[in-house]
Symmetry: C2
Subunit: 405 residues, 2 copies
Amino acid sequence: MAVGPGTLPEFFPVAGVKLGVASAGIKKTGQNDVVVFELAPGSRVAGLFTRNQFCAAPVTLSRRHLAETSPRYLLVNTGNANAGTGEQGMTDALTCCQALAEQAGVSAAEVLPFSTGVIGEPLPVQKLVGAMPHALTGLAPDRWPEAASGILTTDTRPKGASVQVDLGGHTVTISGISKGAGMICPNMATMLGFIATDAQIEPTVLQTLANELGEQSFNRITIDGDTSTNDACVLIASGQYGGPEITQNSPHLATLREALKAVYLDLAHAIVRDGEGATKFVTIQVNGAAATGEALDVAYTVAHSPLVKTALFASDANWGRILAAVGRAGVNDLDISALEIYLGDVCLVKNGGRAAEYSEEQGQAVMSQEDITITIDLKRGDVNETVWTCDLSQEYVSINADYRS
Amino acid sequence: MAVGPGTLPEFFPVAGVKLGVASAGIKKTGQNDVVVFELAPGSRVAGLFTRNQFCAAPVTLSRRHLAETSPRYLLVNTGNANAGTGEQGMTDALTCCQALAEQAGVSAAEVLPFSTGVIGEPLPVQKLVGAMPHALTGLAPDRWPEAASGILTTDTRPKGASVQVDLGGHTVTISGISKGAGMICPNMATMLGFIATDAQIEPTVLQTLANELGEQSFNRITIDGDTSTNDACVLIASGQYGGPEITQNSPHLATLREALKAVYLDLAHAIVRDGEGATKFVTIQVNGAAATGEALDVAYTVAHSPLVKTALFASDANWGRILAAVGRAGVNDLDISALEIYLGDVCLVKNGGRAAEYSEEQGQAVMSQEDITITIDLKRGDVNETVWTCDLSQEYVSINADYRS
């Protein structure tokens, strides 16, 4: 199951970025399971990685390589996460970087590795190395759709976004792909996002954009509350758009930021829409919080509540479950008589109980839709936060219970 | 579904405590839905209530009455939670207390109200008041089994525990009942526990016991992570056992505490074993933590992980999911190469990855059992904590998705 059509967009090629794909035979289906990004010299890269303490070997190595030099290649494999693999995992990840570096004529530190798939199994290094020549010889700027498919695991469909925007007379292109269907499914794991632009962006501005936009998109979605050992999101700026460098004081930064944000949000939302067993795309909007922390506590408590999620699956306007989740979110001194809860435009809760004007029919009408917004106004301050999630269906349980059997 | 046989025990009557039941017609099935406890004069009562900010009217009123005077009656109804009902809910709860007080010849403050059931619907006060005479005329010390059934909602079976213990030559009796199948199911909500003993216990010791034992039992179980608006657990001491008052310095306090703890644990575990859709009873044991907070963070993150829970349902020894949950539990500077994870007696994780001696067959053997213990040794300190939970099945989704339809 998945929410909405979810077709791939027309991808604009990004000057300075080429993509290659190959099948290393890690995935038993024989589908492509290796993707290589080649970045032109002078490209700048900023990453945002999982906060899971059990982070995978490729995450540790990508962080290290990013700190050492500017990457020229990204090497992505699916089917094996190289996580929970101890010292051997680090050795294997490095061996793959060295092999690609040798074939491409760069240094190993210029290669960033990314893995997603089964946890705890040794990385099939020889298979991966064997697939590299095919991926490298096929490098081309227009292979975004194949790359989008080549990074998938339990996803039911590829995910991509692509926009162009004018920056002072120069056209900037932004294209990206993402994968993920559970926030974690350690057997076929992880959320990955790769966004590339031909804009030239000052390195600290690039890192700030990667952090902020990742935080507002990939870090605001949840399918099952689980965070993978391998999550990673990378922002690439090739610098080949022909215009001046975008700095903190650039008049075009705001425009670029909005265009990038649209791509980040599209890619993050596509993951929720393809959530395991998902039939609804749900926006949880918390307004009027006193601080970001409490806004997110409320939003995630509602988004993670199995009872709210099953009610959403059932298209049941069971507002008591939302109210109870808000009440247990850990916000001290919540004024329950002041706060308001809305389903779409319909007020559910006011004055500490069901809104007087509420009718079951109104609630039902909103709940029957595929895209649903729950708004919680805490009436405590000026902070607003948004989180996106999906419902919980029997199919989610089936997918995750039957996976390895 | 439910785990194990779950038959009611032989209940020992508790001197000074009588129980009455009645059908008020709130439950459409016509089953008993009203339970009254009558406590002899001089009884002492300590309560432990939900931390949900949206707590129900009866919770607020019970807290208030407990602060004012010693209760003589407990009035419990199922089928309606009187939660999310605003000012009217408070009025309705008080009206019921007044009606029972009038019929019993006590003051309204001597009645503690408890409700569980649909959230947000007005309490059917007239039905409840009309059922009181029947409950009162039937009061008897041996009606524990009927009371155990009379407080149920989505539970598939009644829950009780009863023990006797010798305290310095005097026999002390402890009997209790509980209900709950989801930690919250706001349509038919809540966890309730009522434990009565004929021991005479000094009031501050009684409150300490109620807090500590409730914390170590009812506050250490989780089915779906949701906390009800109506949760309450009450400890009654009638004082009629014939021995001296148990004080902080009493030589018998430790024995009494252990006997009470056994009853609390039995009642709490019975709720997990009857968890909605449950097929496994799971003990999450976290050892070697540096502090209680981090031990519970790890235990609950594992216990709430939908991926761990679906793996348990599938009897799949998917250790990567446990490892990933530990890694995202928010414990800073976790030494992943030091910690160890066990399934039963089988070591799953050591040295940052799968234990060298582990085999899939060993893990599978443990996973096939109905009662499963997952032990996580953080190797950071001396604090140990235990949490009990169950698995996540398609039936859980079905129960909670189909409930109101």
